[in-house]
């Protein structure tokens, strides 16, 4: 599938803030549902071959989503999102933290702010992540999400090594 949907990603290292903008070829209410309903979230948030499993999700201010990313071997990595603000079909905010299987969050987490808007059937989602730490990024990466990427990096390194031997 070729898509020319916008994907913008910038990081302000000084303020530890990540800005993401992504367009989706669907109307606003469907995209809103995809981000706020557990049964749809579980279909896309875990980079394959990982899967997502939501134990509970109470989408209201003060409510929480407790979910796990499950590895192909069945290993579970739990996380908690706590909703701090919701303006239906416009914006919602939550605090995100890794957790143990007993719902104890590993603080500090990061703060997510998502804004939705639609133009001509295309929905734009603008995400700002505050206080994302390198340690948390490392953890995500350690979880094996980027196995394919790591492999291609290794391949590249081998290739470079081979080429430099020849030179």
């Amino acid at each position: 599938m070729i898509n020319n949907l916008l994907f913008d990603f910038t990081v302000d290292k000084a303020t530890k803030t990540v800005f993401i903008t992504r367009e989706f070829d669907a109307d606003l209410s469907l995209v809103w549902d995809a981000f706020t309903r557990a049964e749809i979230l579980d279909q896309w948030v875990a980079p394959k071959p990982w899967t997502s499993k939501t134990k509970f999700m109470d989408f209201k201010v003060g409510g929480r989503r407790f979910y796990a990313m499950v590895s192909p071997e069945g290993q579970e990595r739990w996380a908690i999102q706590k909703y701090t603000s919701i303006s239906p079909k416009t914006n919602f905010k939550y605090q995100n933290a890794f957790a143990d299987k007993d719902e104890n969050p590993e603080l500090p987490g990061s703060d997510w702010d998502l804004t939705f808007s639609e133009q001509n059937g295309t929905t734009t989602v603008s995400i700002t992540i505050y206080n994302e730490s390198l340690a948390r990024m490392e953890k995500l990466i350690e979880m094996g999400f980027t196995e394919g990427f790591k492999m291609s990096m290794n391949n590249l390194e081998n290739l470079l090594a081979t080429l430099s031997e020849r030179a």
Partner: protein, 108 residues
């Protein structure tokens, strides 16, 4: 889990960023670095300590003096983590594209 310094935290401070910029050009002694700032020597020395713990700068003994120089590999590592984080998000959103298109077809 082991506690360790967050590299983002290290570069979040304006003085520490200024130190990095300063020694990026050439390595410097703590005294020479401190002379560039209006804050106390102790404060500058604390900043250098944090940068060293994060491996963003490296001390090097030259005669009787210690010179600090920038650790380019560590700086590159930060960009690598960010790039991988971006990849994860990219993968998620591509999966969402497929889910959205499936739901749209079901509705028709």
């Amino acid at each position: 889990m082991e506690t360790r310094r967050d590299v983002f935290q290290a570069i979040a401070d304006p003085t520490r960023r200024a130190i990095l910029l300063l020694i990026a050009a050439h390595s410097m002694t703590p005294n020479a670095i401190a002379e560039e700032f209006h804050t106390s020597r102790q404060a500058v020395s604390r900043h250098i300590q944090i940068l060293t713990e994060c491996e963003l700068v490296k001390p090097e003994q030259k005669g009787r003096e210690i010179y600090y120089h920038i650790n380019i590999n560590k700086m590159k590592e930060i960009d690598k983590w960010i790039e991988q984080f971006k990849k994860i998000l990219e993968t998620q959103f591509n999966q969402l594209d497929k889910v959205l298109s499936t739901i749209k077809k079901q509705k028709k």
